[in-house]
């Protein structure tokens, strides 16, 4: 990663363990403003834990996390909510609120987080749904009535609804067919370009990783073992990256049978 200026998000020596299991083991990561970083790595390597530590859903055991140069590691209450206004996230399973119709899901952050009137928030929600290719007729449906791909689109609309500065994508294409995965990748690229946001995605889908990123970092056993521009990933001689991107069973990465 480049070292120019204040990074948008920075993790320094972050450690997190659950019981005896060490998940993050002194993780260092910088995300520069405007960059689209994808963190790749196998299942159970700590990608989701890393994101949850940045968002304050989990608290690191050690280390520091900075957002725009401000330390946020142990922020709580209102101070945490203020920092979270900069963030949005597309969850792996979309995580839509099934008790609310689609438009209220999209407008949720506007109504609850920003205090915007429901009528105005509804107009914004329909506008954002249009940006992800969904018509106003979808707005009144329940999330349970949508396909997996449509749920991801609604999740993306919800993520961009409040014009965030940083968006996290958690396995954005997992569980989708290749065509719908490509549609979601294109939507991510176009919305990121429109908003000019910084993004951090975690995935093990290399097609998606190459398409939506300008930088890639690889996480293994709680540490970043390689990082660089996306264009260099095929030229690196890093044995971890080489094994992962080619999907080989043999190599330095050993699959753990138990989490």
């Amino acid at each position: 990663m480049s070292a120019a200026g204040t990074p948008k998000v920075e993790l320094r020596g972050v450690k997190k363990r659950f019981g005896d299991k060490v998940v993050l083991d002194g993780l260092d990561l910088r995300i520069e403003p405007g960059h689209s970083l994808v963190v790749i790595g196998g299942s159970g390597t700590g990608k989701s834990v890393m994101i949850k530590c940045v968002l304050g859903i989990l608290t690191p055991d050690e280390g520091q996390i900075f957002v725009d140069g401000q330390e946020v590691t142990n922020l709580r209450g209102r101070a945490r909510e203020e920092v979270l206004r900069k963030f949005a996230m597309l969850f792996q399973g979309a995580a839509l609120f099934d008790s609310l119709p689609v438009w209220e899901n999209v407008a949720f952050g506007l109504i609850q987080g920003r205090g915007i009137a429901r009528n105005k928030a509804r107009d914004i929600a329909i506008e954002k749904l249009a940006k992800v290719g969904l018509g106003a007729d979808v707005a009144l449906l329940s999330p349970a009535e949508l396909s997996g791909g449509m749920q991801k689109r609604v999740g993306l609309a919800r993520a961009i609804a409040a014009d965030p500065e940083i968006i996290f994508f958690d396995e954005p294409t997992t569980g989708l067919d290749p065509i719908m995965a490509d549609v979601i990748n294109d939507l991510i690229i176009s919305t990121v370009k429109d908003l000019g946001v910084t993004t951090l995605s975690i995935t093990h889908d290399m097609v998606s990783a190459r398409k939506i990123s300008d930088h890639i970092a690889m996480l293994y056993k709680g540490k970043i073992v390689w990082g660089g521009p996306t264009s260099e990933i095929d030229r690196t001689d890093n044995p971890f990256v080489d094994q992962f991107i080619h999907g080989r069973a043999d190599g330095p990465i050993k699959m753990e049978v138990r989490a």
């Binding site: 949850k52 968002l55 304050g56 859903i57 909510e81 979270l84 206004r85 963030f87 949005a88 996230m89 969850f91 792996q92 399973g93 995580a95 839509l96 609120f97 099934d98 949720f108 952050g109 609850q112 987080g113 920003r114 919800r158 409040a162 996290f168």
Partner: protein, 257 residues
């Protein structure tokens, strides 16, 4: 050594869960006094917890009142004290059976539903999504349920008390040959503020325990469908046990002079 290890694990687990519950309770109660308070969610939960529990609680109270009258008559008639049946039914229902039966029925119905709903939200990352949308999950999910349960339960128990006493009246007049007017007169003469208010205080405490156990177990559920199932079971069992324990403590506090 294995026995010692098991005792140690159990002890550590007990204190871990107690600590976790204490922190959760503290966060939830402090959330009641810190804005924002979601009034429309409180109203929605009052409908779910109170109004929709009315049929099951009402039916239970009616039959309990009836059975109570039959049993008391059976015992009292041995000493020629049949005239005490209306007062004993009244006291039994308002002080004990109304709040306890309603509490246990609502625990089965509502604590399970709350744990299942919040537990599913936990395992599908909806609670994490709330956090990322700058919404405190405790304030949005837990506080409305706690407030709604504490308000709804006394109302529900007041209605259950009336239905229970009516159940006693029906059994006494239809099966035991009591005169209706005399029965009602004895009931009204035996009615005291303390009997009713103590039952309503119990009801508010039971409502708090039911919502707290539902929310706590749902909030900490793990591991998909099986985890949600366990959370639901634990919510009902823990709420029921706490209701019975709290009933003993409150009875001791309110009636032991």
């Amino acid at each position: 050594m294995n026995v010692l290890a098991t005792i140690g694990r159990f002890t550590l687990g007990f204190f871990r869960e107690t600590g976790r519950l204490s922190v959760f309770t503290g966060d939830s109660v402090s959330g009641v006094v810190r804005p924002p308070l979601y009034w429309y969610l409180i109203a929605q939960q009052m409908m779910r917890i109170g109004f929709y529990s009315l049929p099951v609680v009402g039916l239970t109270a009616f039959f309990t009142g009836g059975v109570l009258a039959l049993q008391i008559y059976n015992g009292a008639s041995r000493y020629g004290a049949e005239s005490f049946v209306p007062v004993v039914v009244l006291v039994g229902i308002t002080r004990e059976l109304g709040p306890v039966i309603a509490g246990l029925m609502v625990a089965g119905r509502v604590a399970a539903a709350i744990a299942a709903e919040i537990g599913t939200m936990r395992v599908t990352e909806q609670i994490d999504a709330l956090t990322t949308l700058s919404t405190n999950p405790i304030k949005y999910l837990v506080v409305p349920r706690l407030v709604a349960a504490v308000i709804s339960m006394p109302i529900l128990v007041a209605i259950a008390d009336s239905i229970g006493v009516f159940g006693g009246y029906v059994a006494s007049t239809q099966s035991l040959g009591f005169n209706g007017a005399v029965y009602m007169n004895n009931t009204m003469n035996g009615l005291t503020f303390d009997d009713v208010s103590s039952g309503l205080i119990k009801a508010a405490v039971f409502g708090f325990l039911i919502a707290l156990m539902g929310c706590f177990n749902g909030f900490h559920s793990r591991g998909g469908a099986q985890g949600v199932g366990s959370a639901t079971t634990n919510a009902v069992v823990s709420a029921s046990i706490l209701i019975l324990a709290a009933n003993y403590l409150l009875t001791n506090l309110l009636f032991t002079k």
